[in-house]
Amino acid sequence: MSVHDEVPATSMGRPGGDGRFGEYGGRFVPESLVPACVELADAFESAWSDPAFRARLDGLLGSYAGRPTPVTECLRLSRRLGVRVLLKREDLAHTGSHKINNVLGQALLAERMGKRRLVAETGAGQHGVASATAAALLGLECVVYMGAVDVQRQALNVFRMELLGAEVRTVRSGSRTLKDAVNDALRDWVASVETTHYCLGSVMGPHPYPYMVRQFQRVVGEEAREQCRVLLGGDDPDVVVACVGGGSNAAGTFAGFVDTRAELVGVEAAGGAALGNGLPGVVHGMRSLFLQDEAGQILEAHSISAGLDYPGIGPEHAHLAAIGRARYHAVGDSEVLDAFRLLAETEGIIPALEAAHAVAWLVRAAGSGELTPGTTVLLTMSGRGDKDVQQVKEMLG
C-alpha cells in the first residue's frame, strides 16, 4: 500500500494509507478484487499527478461537459425566503447532473489501465446515463445495473442509456433499488475484474473510490468558491448545502469550501438518512453508517428520489459529521415536492428530486429562523428535474 502524507482531518486531503477517513472507509472486498483496488489506487495517483491526464480531463470537462457551470443568484427565491440564495448549476452540465465530472475521469482512467469495459450501478439513472455517455465518447463497452423498481420509475433514463449504446441489466434481488444494483455491479466485477473497470458513481465503496470520486467532483466546489468570491466581493458564503445519497455532489462541493468559514450542510432523504438513523457497519467495501437492524441486516431505504434511496453514506461524510465539520439533516417527501414546485415557479429551474432535498432544507431553515435573515447560502443544484417530471406529475396528480 502506498504511503500517503498525513493530512489534517478537516482538509479533505488524502485518506490515511489504509483508505480511512478517521474510523471510516477502508477496503472490505472479496479477495478477488483487492489487487484491482490496489491497481486502481496506484493508477489514480499516477494519473492525478500527471499533467497530461489532467489536461485531457480538463479539456473534456470544458469542451464536452460544458464546464465551468455557472453560479446563479436566485433573486425571487431570496426575497421569498429572506436569505441570499446562490445555486451552483450542475444541472446545466452535459447529461444533466454533476455525475459527468466523475465518469469522464474514471473512463479516462479505465482507458489508461487498458480496460475497455465499464460496469456501473445507477439509482435515478443519472450516473448510468453519464457512464453510458462517457463510454460512448471513448468507445468503451458499458453495462449498467439498475434495480427493477428504479427501471420502472425512471423508464426514460433506461431508454436514454440504451440509445447511448449501453446495456441495462435489471436487478431483481433484495429491495430492487440502488443498494441491490451496487451488489450486482460488484458481483459482475468479481467475475470480470481483469478486463473491466467498475465505474462507481458516488463517494462510496472500497478505497480508493470515496477519495477518487471526491477528487473528480471537487471541481464543483472549487469553481463555486471562486465564483462566489466574485459575486460576494471576495467573501465566502455563510452556508454551503448539498443533497446526500452516497454523497458525491456534496463531497465535491464541500471540498471547495472545507477550508473556508462556510458552514457545511448535507441533506438526506428522511427514508434513507444513514447519518441521521444509521449505525456503523461494513457494506459495499466500506466502513460507514448504514440503516440496519440489530443483527446487521441492511434495511431498505425509502425515498421518492431514486438517487437518494440508499441505506448508507460515503465514509468521508461519516467522518465530517463525526468531527463536526459538516452537519446533516433529513427532509421528507412532501417537503421535497413543495420545494420542487417552489424552485420551478420562482426561478424557472426544475430541480432533480435529489437536489430538491437541499432546497427543502433551505426553505425549512429559512422559515424556522435557523438561518438568520441575510445569510448567504450556496446550494449545489446537482441535477435537473426533467427525468422526474413524469413521476412528480403522477404524485401531484
Partner: protein, 281 residues
C-alpha cells in the same frame, strides 16, 4: 464485554500470533489428521435457517461423509454469492432466521465433525468481535469464513477469534499475487480456502482452469489443508480438483437441491456422491 469475560479455551488457543509455534485449532487438527490418512476432504455448505429441517440436513451430510460442515449465516447483501445462495439467504431471512439464532441452534447439532460458519463481515461487526467470537466458541463452532474481510482488514476480528479459539479461514483468489498469498496463508487458520474462479458462488458446467492453478499455488505456499470452493459443482469436478487440492467446499449444488425440496435425504445423497467421487480418485 471485557477480555476477562471470555471463557478460556484450551484446545485451540493460538492466542499470540507472535509465538512461533502455534497449536492447531480443532478444525485444522481434524482436517490434517484425515488428510494424513490419505483422505480427500469434503466440506458441504448449508444455509442456516433454510427450511425447518436445516439441522437435519447438517446431520445428514455428516452421516454421508462430510469432513466438516460450513453453515451460512444469511446476510441481506451477499456480494460473493450467486443467485442460488442469494435466494437461499433471502428465504431463510424471510422465514425469520437470524445469525444469533442459527449459531445458538448449532449447539444442538450433535455432529462429530467441526463446524465453520460463513457469513459477511457486517454481521460480525454489528455483533462485536469479542461477543461474536465467544458466542461461536460457546456454541461449538470451530471456525469462521468471512469472504468480504480481506487479510489487510482482518486483524481486529482475527485476533479476537484467535483469543476465543475460533479459527479464521482466509480466502485466496486467482488474482492474488504471490507475496500476498504468503500473507494470506500465514494468517489463515483451519484451512486455506482457494477460490476456484473469478466470480461469485454458483454451479459451473466445467471446472475452471484457474481452480487447478490457485490450488497448486496454495499448496506450494502452505502446509495447511487447501480446499477449493466456488465453482465446484459435482463429483467429477471434485475428483478432478482433488488431484491437486486437499479437498473441496461445495455450496450452490447442494443448496439448489435444498431449494428444490430435496431435504436431508437429497442433501445426504449429493454428499455421498461427492465422497465416492473423491475417494475413487
Amino acid at each position: 464485554m471485557s477480555a476477562s469475560a471470555i471463557p478460556p479455551l484450551d484446545r485451540s488457543a493460538r492466542g499470540n500470533t507472535d509465538a512461533g509455534e502455534t497449536v492447531p485449532g480443532k478444525l485444522e487438527a481434524h482436517l490434517r489428521s484425515r488428510r494424513a490418512q490419505g483422505r480427500k476432504l469434503v466440506v458441504p455448505y448449508v444455509t442456516g435457517g433454510l427450511g425447518e429441517d436445516w439441522l437435519d440436513v447438517v446431520r445428514a451430510v455428516v452421516a454421508a461423509g462430510a469432513d466438516a460442515v460450513e453453515i451460512g449465516l444469511p446476510f441481506s447483501d451477499p456480494v460473493m454469492d450467486g443467485p442460488t445462495i442469494q435466494e437461499a439467504s433471502q428465504r431463510a431471512l424471510e422465514a425469520g432466521a437470524t445469525p444469533q439464532g442459527i449459531v445458538a441452534a448449532l449447539r444442538s447439532a450433535d455432529v462429530d465433525v467441526p463446524i465453520a460458519v460463513m457469513t459477511y463481515y457486517n454481521i460480525v461487526a454489528r455483533t462485536g468481535h469479542r461477543r461474536m467470537a465467544s458466542e461461536l466458541a460457546r456454541c461449538g463452532v470451530s471456525a469462521a469464513i468471512l469472504p468480504d474481510l480481506p487479510v489487510d482488514e482482518a486483524g481486529p476480528w482475527a485476533e479476537a477469534a484467535d483469543e476465543a479459539g475460533v479459527e479464521t479461514v482466509m480466502l485466496a483468489a486467482p488474482t492474488t499475487p504471490d507475496d500476498r498469498l504468503e500473507v494470506i496463508c500465514r494468517r489463515s487458520r483451519g484451512f486455506v480456502y482457494a477460490v476456484g474462479l473469478l466470480g461469485v458462488t454458483g454451479e459451473r458446467r466445467e471446472l475452471a482452469a484457474s481452480a487447478v492453478a490457485i490450488a497448486a499455488r496454495c499448496k506450494r505456499a502452505t502446509d495447511l489443508p487447501v480446499l477449493v470452493g466456488v465453482g465446484v459443482s459435482n463429483a467429477v469436478q471434485a475428483r478432478e480438483i482433488c488431484a491437486v487440492a486437499d479437498g473441496v467446499v461445495v455450496g450452490s449444488a447442494l443448496v439448489r437441491r435444498l431449494l428444490e425440496g430435496a431435504g436431508p435425504d437429497g442433501a445426504g445423497e449429493l454428499v455421498a456422491e461427492l465422497r465416492a467421487g473423491v475417494d475413487e480418485g
